[in-house]
């Protein structure tokens, strides 16, 4: 069985989930120029909330939806309570707020029964059983569902930003806040919506990750930072960039694991190789593959 198609396909599966996780960064940066370092903790919040609901007998799909709604509201709350007060403050101060938030959310999750421990969703019946074999690569139903959900959400958000009035308004705010305000756009509302949408996608990513690889706080929160190269590579303010960046990182990881680990003692090149590519890309295109090219002369 040829290894290359298997590596490409497995890379795309993981890449689509990276893309979904990365989308939260993009949504917030796109509208408010803030990088949210608490995104991993929001992913974990959504996943554990869904898990807690399933433990109380709520149907898995309903639990996932409720978790998405809850993290949508959490995003709104974070923006209203913490970020709105930071408008006009230096960007480093805003970044520190998000780093502080990551610690606070981490600590709060530790106060729940799910902070320390390993958990696993009871796989829904429809996702159990044999999956599909694509180009000689067996894919589980969970993986297929994860990819479809991730691509569906990514597609819907791409459509939203390109076609809907609100999406176009958000892009306008990202392009020039002053100009947007001067034509009556509520910048605050756009910021809040961006945080809420990021929360929603975070929960979706968390539930998919939980289904695929189990639920541990460290693992889920760690994904938030692991996808950082994805957004840098794709472009911090590009939804398409998140998708392409996610796929590229997923595929690069698998190609390096497939072809370099065999010749590097100890292997583990999948954790390094994407960063080497990232550095190379950034040297040539500092704004990433699809990011907005900004030139500042000082």
């Amino acid at each position: 069985m040829d290894l290359l198609p298997q590596l490409l396909l497995a890379g795309m599966v993981i890449g689509s989930i990276y893309a979904l996780a990365a989308l939260g960064f993009v949504l917030i940066y796109k509208s408010s120029r803030v990088i949210n370092f608490a995104h991993g903790q929001i992913i974990a919040t959504g996943a554990f909330l869904a898990f807690a609901l399933t433990q109380r007998g709520v149907n898995f799909w309903l639990a996932g939806l409720i978790a998405m709604l809850a993290t949508f509201l959490l995003g709104l709350l974070i923006e209203r309570v913490f970020l709105r007060r930071m408008v006009g403050e230096p960007i480093i101060a805003v970044i520190m707020v998000t780093i502080g938030l990551s610690s606070v959310i981490d600590g709060l999750i530790h106060l729940t029964p799910y902070g320390a421990g390993s958990f696993s969703f009871q796989t829904p019946a429809v996702l159990s059983g044999a999956g599909l074999e694509v180009f000689g690569t067996p894919l589980s139903r969970t993986q297929i569902a994860g990819v479809l959900a991730a691509l569906g959400l990514l597609g819907a958000l791409t459509y939203f930003f390109n076609r809907s009035t609100l999406g176009i308004t958000m892009r306008a705010v990202a392009d020039d806040q002053l100009a947007a305000m001067s034509v009556g756009t509520s910048v605050e509302r756009v910021f809040a919506l961006a945080w809420a949408a990021a929360g929603l996608t975070a929960a979706a990513a968390g539930v998919i990750l939980g289904l695929l690889s189990g639920l541990t706080l460290g693992g889920l929160a760690g994904i938030g930072l692991k996808v950082f190269p994805v957004v840098i590579l794709g472009g911090l303010d590009s939804v398409i960039g998140a998708i392409v960046g996610g796929m590229l990182i997923g595929i690069l990881e698998n190609l390096s694991a497939g072809y370099l680990d065999a010749i590097v003692p100890g292997g583990g090149t999948r954790d390094v190789f994407p960063f080497i590519v990232l550095i190379a890309v950034l040297l040539l295109r500092p704004y990433g593959l699809f990011g907005t090219k900004e030139i500042e002369r000082v």
């Binding site: 290894l3 981490d106 421990g117 390993s118 067996p138 695929l212 460290g218 693992g219 999948r270």
Partner: protein, 395 residues
């Protein structure tokens, strides 16, 4: 009546004044990486310490139970150690991670405070600076060599792959495993490092398959192993390769994360498990867990038992130290646990023995295999690895 009450109060007060207080302190990951194991371990230490007070296991001594989170951060562990030793005058340090213990090895030697880590890394008791470090149970290296012996008995000449955590915790047993494999006629064809955020193992498993690997031994935590098992199941490799692992790979954590993909996984550990309710140590675990209101998941975790063992060893050493409740007295108490004076806490499959030269407590281990329901059942009796002393003579 009034006189009697006053007299009783006076007696109680004088008894309290005569009672010495000794701090039993633990530092480890209640939050942060590996807290899935650390939180239960901390609970075990805390509960056993409280139980020792409640049962008056140390007459005339009140234990001050201190359990502190270091978030798996070596700098935090060092700060906690300095506080415990400098301000609280602890006679024994109950520690946690491989990294922090390696970092503190020299300081521990300098301060002469006996230390019982949750890391079973053999390098901790290797020279230099190994006088005061005591492993509560058999090392990861011995776990892995015992697994290799099991393979050699079944399938001499078989090809084996090692999958280890990218850290000192993961890497260290590799040298001993290679030496043992050579003596046992096994071929270690690949050694791969896999961390906690690795979501896809297709490339690694397909390479193992193409190399003819029949046995995969893991030195890792349960999370990455569960992902490997799930991928192996998806790729149809579970029947073709036998997956195995050292202490921190297995138990309920693994079966919770991997589900039915954990079936047949072979695990090496020195501990009795929750399901072995006929064992006095497990009965005690259940009793103490219920007494202090722990959740079922915590009580079931092997890490809860491990924490209790560490605290129980410290309490027993204090008991043997009699009036010398210092680090020096406790060292003497620890090193008296051998021969007919071996300590039998019941949490492990063999007695805890220490001496000035023997720094491994419960040396016996068993191999257990996960069944369809995710429960591990013993497939060997308590044993020691025959080969381990040859590939890693302890000094």
């Amino acid at each position: 009546m009034k006189k009697a009450l006053a007299l009783s109060a006076l007696v109680a007060l004088s008894l309290a004044a005569a009672q010495k207080t000794v701090t039993l302190a633990w530092s480890g990951a209640i939050t942060g990486p590996t807290s899935d194991a650390g939180a239960s371990y901390a609970a075990g230490v805390e509960d056993y310490c409280k139980y020792a007070n409640a049962q008056n296991l140390l007459p005339g001594v009140r234990l001050n139970c201190v359990v502190r989170d270091d978030q798996y951060n070596n700098a935090n562990t060092q700060r906690n150690f300095e506080d415990f030793v400098g301000n609280m005058n602890v006679p024994v340090f109950l520690s946690y991670s491989t990294g922090s213990n390696l970092q503190l090895k020299g300081v521990i030697e300098e301060t002469k405070v006996p230390t019982l880590p949750a890391s079973y890394h053999i390098g901790l008791i290797d020279p230099p600076n190994n006088t005061y470090m005591f492993l509560p149970v058999s090392s990861y290296s011995e776990n892995i060599v015992a697994l290799l012996e099991y393979i050699a008995k079944k399938d001499r000449g078989a090809k084996v792959a090692l999958v280890v955590n990218p850290s000192p915790f993961g890497r260290d047993p590799v040298v001993d495993a290679r030496k043992a494999a050579q003596r046992l006629g096994l071929k270690i064809v690949d050694v791969q490092e896999v961390g906690g955020n690795n979501l896809d193992n297709t490339a690694m498993l397909r390479r193992f398959e193409s190399q003819g690997v029949k046995y995969v031994i893991n030195q890792n935590t349960a999370g990455p192993v569960a992902n490997i098992l799930k991928d192996a199941k998806r790729l149809g490799l579970l029947g073709k390769m036998q997956f195995m692992g050292a202490h921190y790979t297995g138990g309920e954590d693994l079966t919770k994360l991997a589900g039915d993909a954990a079936e047949d996984f072979i695990w090496a550990t020195s501990y009795y498990l929750y399901d072995e309710g006929d064992r006095p140590g497990i009965q005690l675990v259940k009793k103490i867990g219920a007494q202090y209101g722990r959740k079922a998941d915590t009580i079931r975790s092997v890490h809860y038992t491990s924490g209790m063992l560490a605290a129980a060893i410290a309490v027993e050493a204090l008991k043997r130290a009699k009036n010398d409740l210092t680090a020096a007295g406790l060292y003497k108490g620890l090193t008296s646990m051998n021969g007919s004076r071996a300590f039998q806490p019941g949490f492990t499959v063999g007695p805890v023995t220490f001496s000035a030269k023997d720094h491994v407590g419960a040396e016996s281990l068993r191999l257990l295999q996960a069944d369809k329901t995710g429960n591990f059942k013993a497939i060997t009796g308590p044993q020691r690895s025959q080969m381990f002393q040859l590939v890693h003579p302890l000094r």
